[in-house]
Amino acid sequence: MSENLLEVRNLKKYFPITAGLLRRTVGHVKAVDDVSFTVRTGETLGIVGESGCGKSTTGRMIMRVLEPTSGEIVFDGQDITKLRGKELRAVRPKFQMVFQDPYASLNPKMGIEEIIAEPLIVNGVNRKQATERVIHLLERVGLRADDRNRYPHEFSGGQRQRIGIARALALNPKLIVADEAVSALDVSIQSQILNLMMDLKKEFNLSYIFISHNLAVVRHISDRVGVMYLGHMVELADKRSLYADPRHPYTEALLSAAPEPKRQGRRERIILQGDVPSPANPPKGCPFHTRCPKVMDICKVERPALKQVAPNHLVACHLYN
């Protein structure tokens, strides 16, 4: 594969918690705590993990809609972490986002043409060309040219997601962050959208960061997969290696807990005890040690670093020291 399109280094996001008479900051929700990874051109990086583990926060920081507490985001060779105003607007078209609930992210009062053309017009494309492009995009995502005169509420969930994708594609981005993009859809519609996204990727030479809590969907669409837990990246590996040979005890439990639609040869299920701890008060040492079936003494005091244990397979766990 070719060079890195995106490089994320030591990214952190701490949301302050305030309390008391003077609204002093009394603590932080450590939503994302020191996460690093890369996305190569033309690659799909999947990010999985349970709700609240920091997936969306990571995505939103990369999109530069949320200010990181610290860390660096290098996109296409340029450090975009500190860009502001005009400079930021100049790179914005190159990365776009697709959301879980397409209805919430589409303005209900705007017609479809307006929704998709808006980013084009803002970037100086004239009306006529914009309309042509809207028609082209609609047809490309499986809708009809006539649909541009309708409104979001007239479409089903799957169709709305197609509209969201068309809008994201309007400015020829290089990277699309899809945050739970198929999670609200029925399986038959989900597979339509997954197939569409995979086709578009080839056609437009896109890279994806595909965020989802659904392990099977992530496996299907991704080249590499990162597993997050409580704001940390605990395992990051080539898809085949990760699913065939998960190394981190959390990944193992997660995979065993996801039920496969088959009756024979089902895996032994590892049932984790308890809930994920609060990111406002994360455990010391390994973030997973409160639920880990293989916990050792060192896990409670020292945080394991993300280290290579096999080719293209990084794990943050003391078992591999």
Partner: protein, 321 residues
């Protein structure tokens, strides 16, 4: 086979308004044996929830109406009971848990108040006895600090804990039938695994039959003894779980299974069922799946196929298989 605990015969539940008749449930037959787990599976809008609410006779008024059918439970037709007699059945002989554990619990009442309420309604108990029983039940479903939690409010608990509370509340009168409508859809996989495990334990310890409604065929494979596949208000396939996964027969069931990405094997292109579910206010003539069916023939659009036995105990609504 023994006398079934529940036998739904030709149930029809419609939403009737001046300008439309939405046929949410359109002539279904389902049987549940004692101690059996029956899964009802299908995409959203196919009538799963309305089926369960019909059994409870809690179809939303005033538009929703059970227009035809019989629901035999323990030797009585529930549809012939008076409203008073029906309240004696609800929460006592048949109880129900819902998808959203957050919104299904009353935010202003303590957990204890909400559980004891069921006991005070159906059992001759003092408040103190009821509270003791509630605590015992919470401990049984694995809620830690049960004697403190009875005095807490739902918002103080995690999603998984709330669903355990819902289960405790539903099981506290030891019902013969538990209806669970998408009980784990809102939960993370590791928590889903805990809750499914708990439901199995409930069946073992209380000999309760379970109707488990889900859109997730993985959950079906894990839990079901018998599976009912619904499409557009009808049963399209009904058989024991092993044969459903070994020999899915209806083109819709096959399509669903092929649309799901797998955790274990590589699928290059996912099968996708084209189009969307037909509008329940205007079903087409003939087979309701014809527009999306890969093997449809002109004859399919003429005549509605009957649910027929293709093998002993394996019912399919399709004339061409």
């Amino acid at each position: 086979m023994a006398e079934p605990l529940l036998a739904i015969k030709n149930l029809k539940t419609y939403f009737i308004s001046k300008d439309a008749e939405v046929r949410a449930v359109d002539g279904i037959d389902i049987e549940v044996q004692p101690r059996q787990v029956v899964c009802i599976v299908g995409e959203s809008g196919c009538g799963k929830s309305m089926t369960s609410l019909s059994i409870m006779r809690l179809v939303p008024k005033p538009k929703g109406k059970i227009v035809d059918g019989e629901i035999w439970f323990n030797g009585r037709d529930l549809l012939k009971l008076s409203e008073d007699e029906m309240t004696d059945v609800r929460g006592n002989e048949i109880s129900m848990i819902f998808q959203e554990p957050m919104t299904a619990l009353n935010p202003v009442l303590t957990i204890g108040e909400q559980i004891t309420e069921v006991l005070l309604r159906h059992r001759k108990m003092t408040k103190r006895q009821a509270l003791a029983k509630a605590i015992e039940m919470l401990q049984f479903v694995g809620v830690p600090r049960a004697s403190e939690i009875v005095h807490e409010y739902p918002h103080q608990l995690s999603g998984g804990m709330r669903q355990r509370v819902m289960i405790a509340m539903a099981m506290v009168c030891e019902p013969k039938l538990l209806i669970a409508d998408e009980p784990t859809t809102a939960l993370d996989v590791t928590i889903q695994a805990q809750v499914l495990e708990l439901m199995k334990k409930m069946r073992e310890d209380f000999n309760t039959s379970i109707i488990l409604i889900t859109h997730d065929l993985g959950v079906v494979a894990d839990m079901a003894d018998h599976v009912v596949v619904m499409y557009a208000g009808q049963v399209v396939e009904s058989t024991d779980a092993d044969s459903l996964f070994a020999e899915p027969t209806h083109p819709y069931t096959k399509g669903l299974l092929a649309s799901i990405p797998s955790l274990e094997e590589e699928k290059d292109v996912l099968y996708s069922i084209p189009g969307t579910v037909p509008d329940a206010a205007a079903f087409p003539k003939g087979c309701r799946f014809a527009d999306r069916c890969p093997i449809a023939q002109p004859s399919c659009r003429e005549k509605m196929p009957e649910l027929r036995e293709v093998k002993p105990g394996h019912l399919v609504r399709c004339d061409l298989v």
